[in-house]
């Protein structure tokens, strides 16, 4: 059970059951759709970007607990951040979930505060895509991508 708790931490379950910043965002300047064809997870990220900063971030979609909680926590974490900061955050997040070096993973995730709850995903390689789908979609929105993002 404790092993599973590393993956399904209370914070993750809380954000899955009560997602924050869920729904359309009026006046959004950036949108992107993300889709994981393997499991059907789908997420839309909407952003209001002004002066190079994300002023507001919302998401919509459906999927597993990991993907939905990741989207919810991500929208909270990126608000008020510059594009460059957000890209650096995703880089850290990605390393933290995929590196085989446990110390490197902890070092990468530690500055991300609440997002570090996804550290347990590292033990479940097939679930990494669930956690990173919202981030790939967010980056695509910042890039003004017109094509839907796929994790496959």
């Amino acid at each position: 059970m404790s092993e599973l708790r590393d993956l399904y931490q209370e914070v993750i379950l809380d954000h899955y059951k009560q997602p924050r910043n869920f729904g359309a965002l009026d006046g959004a300047s950036h949108h992107a759709d993300g889709h994981n064809p393997l499991c059907g997870d789908a997420v839309t990220v909407s952003l209001t970007v002004a002066d190079g900063k994300v002023v507001d971030a919302h998401f919509e979609g459906s999927g597993c607990a990991i993907s939905m909680a990741s989207a919810s926590l991500m929208t909270e974490a990126v608000k008020g951040r510059s594009e460059a900061e957000i890209r650096a955050m995703f880089e850290r997040f990605h390393v933290g979930l995929t590196t085989s070096d446990e110390m490197a993973a902890m070092d990468a995730l530690e500055p991300l505060e609440k997002l570090a709850v996804f550290g347990g995903v590292r033990e479940y390689p097939v679930r990494v895509k669930c956690a990173t789908l919202p981030w790939h979609t967010l980056i695509a929105a910042l890039d003004h991508a017109t094509k839907p993002v796929k994790t496959e």
Binding site: L13, C39, C64, A65, R127
Partner: protein, 418 residues
């Protein structure tokens, strides 16, 4: 493996401990726990007899088939053709030349689409399938639609996952040239009324293809009694190796159909001006086949028949009934499809938890289930779910596996605080 409302409680004529001892992988532990393998509908585990057969081919009698004049090649050819005879008997086909070895059911359906379809279907002709087909019985016909302008008709199922036979009948029209349906639906476990379907087709002279991927490991198949024109299955779901399967086709169709792939073995003579094709079934077996795989498939057929379909069916029927009863006790657990006749498969949804989260948690209990769309996205759409958790059963499963699944699902609810 078929369950009706009043499943008989037959004493299984099957020694479960002995069966399990035949499957080496079942002895291994995963995450320190006993392996609970409930994904046989995706691919079944292999008995020692099949593993040994494949190894023995390479160790004692391997050479290319139908080519060499030397003893070893003759020996390999004899074993390869003996496997064809085993599959013929398994399906009760009239003749060995009606059995074509392929990579699996997917290739078999593509073969029919690309030969029968290309030769005998014209723009506007219709192929009738059902709403609960595997993608392998949808996409080849869509490809043919895009290439030749045929029309794909889809017969609906009801909310229980049973075929609406009246609707099916009404979709058969003057342009219907082929009916291609699953014998058992892979995502729901519905046993389709194939006898009635073939009956409707016969009245109108329409050929029928049955996809037996989820049927042949659970019940005896008699293609002559069924009177279908084509029957396909994959060896790996019948406890045989992956990468090998069979197409049964009535000789009169196979004779008329043009070859599919061209190359060695499927020819009688080749000049740059003209090629004469080989006779059945080799006309459809271009190139060096999966020799060891075919011979090991023959061993899988032997294995299943040595256990016996009577014993398999009574064991699995009782087990499936037990699983449905036990799973029904879990709050918020929904059966996706409650067909009148069910075989091998139970598809589930748990309120408030995504199937992938369920599968991850079950995996930590060493329980293997499939979570996803099961290569049947239209079925998922029909039932309004993105994915399901599918538990599927083989002859080596027992009550302990069902009990583990039920306990695992309760653990999912605990983790999610439900």
């Amino acid at each position: 493996m078929t369950v009706s409302a009043a499943a008989p409680r037959v004493r299984p004529g099957l020694d479960l401990a002995a069966i399990r001892a035949d499957f080496p992988i079942l002895a291994r532990r995963v995450h320190g726990k006993r392996l609970v393998f409930l994904d046989s509908a995706a691919s079944a585990q292999k008995p020692r007899a099949v593993i040994d057969a494949e190894r023995e081919v390479y160790e004692t009698e391997y050479a290319n088939v139908h080519r060499g004049v030397y003893w070893l090649s003759e020996r390999a050819t004899a074993s390869y053709e003996a496997a064809r005879e085993k599959v013929r008997r398994l399906l009760n086909a009239r003749e060995g030349r009606e059995i074509v070895f392929v990579r699996g059911a997917t290739e078999a359906i593509n073969l029919v689409a690309q030969t029968f379809g290309r030769a005998f279907l014209a723009p506007g002709d219709e192929v009738l399938i059902t709403e609960v087909e595997h993608h392998a019985n949808i996409v080849p016909w869509q490809m043919l639609r895009d290439e030749k302008g045929i029309v794909l008709k889809v017969a609906p199922v009801d909310d229980e996952g049973d075929l609406d036979l009246d609707a099916f009948r009404s979709l058969i029209g003057p342009r219907t040239r082929l009916i291609s349906v699953a014998h058992v639906a892979n995502a729901l476990g519905t046993v389709l009324p194939v006898e009635a379907i073939v009956g409707l087709a016969r009245e109108r002279g329409i050929p029928v293809l049955l996809d037996g991927c989820q049927a042949v490991q659970h019940q005896p198949i008699d293609v002559q009694a069924l009177d279908c024109d084509f029957y396909v299955f994959s060896g790996h779901k019948l406890y045989g190796p992956s990468g090998v399967g069979a197409l049964y086709g009535k000789a009169e169709w196979l004779e008329k159909m043009p070859p599919w792939q061209g190359g060695g073995d499927m020819i009688r003579s080749v000049t740059f001006d003209k090629t004469e094709y080989n006779e059945l079934p080799w006309k459809f077996e271009a190139g060096t086949p999966n020799i060891a795989g075919v011979i090991a498939l023959g061993a899988a057929v032997d294995y299943v028949q040595s256990v016996g379909y009577d014993a398999i069916a009574s064991h699995e029927t009782e087990l499936l009934g037990y699983a449905v009863r036990e799973l029904s006790k879990i709050n918020s657990l929904r059966f996706i499809g409650r067909p009148r006749r069910r075989s091998g498969v139970i598809s589930l949804a748990l309120e408030g938890v995504h199937p992938h989260d369920i599968a991850t948690i079950l995996d930590r209990e060493a329980i293997c289930v499939r979570a996803g769309h099961h290569c049947a996205q239209p079925t998922m759409t029909r039932f309004g779910v993105p994915a399901t958790v599918r538990a599927s059963f083989g002859l080596y499963n027992g009550h302990d596996d069902v009990d583990a699944l039920v306990a695992g699902l309760r653990k999912v609810q605990e983790v999610f605080g439900l």
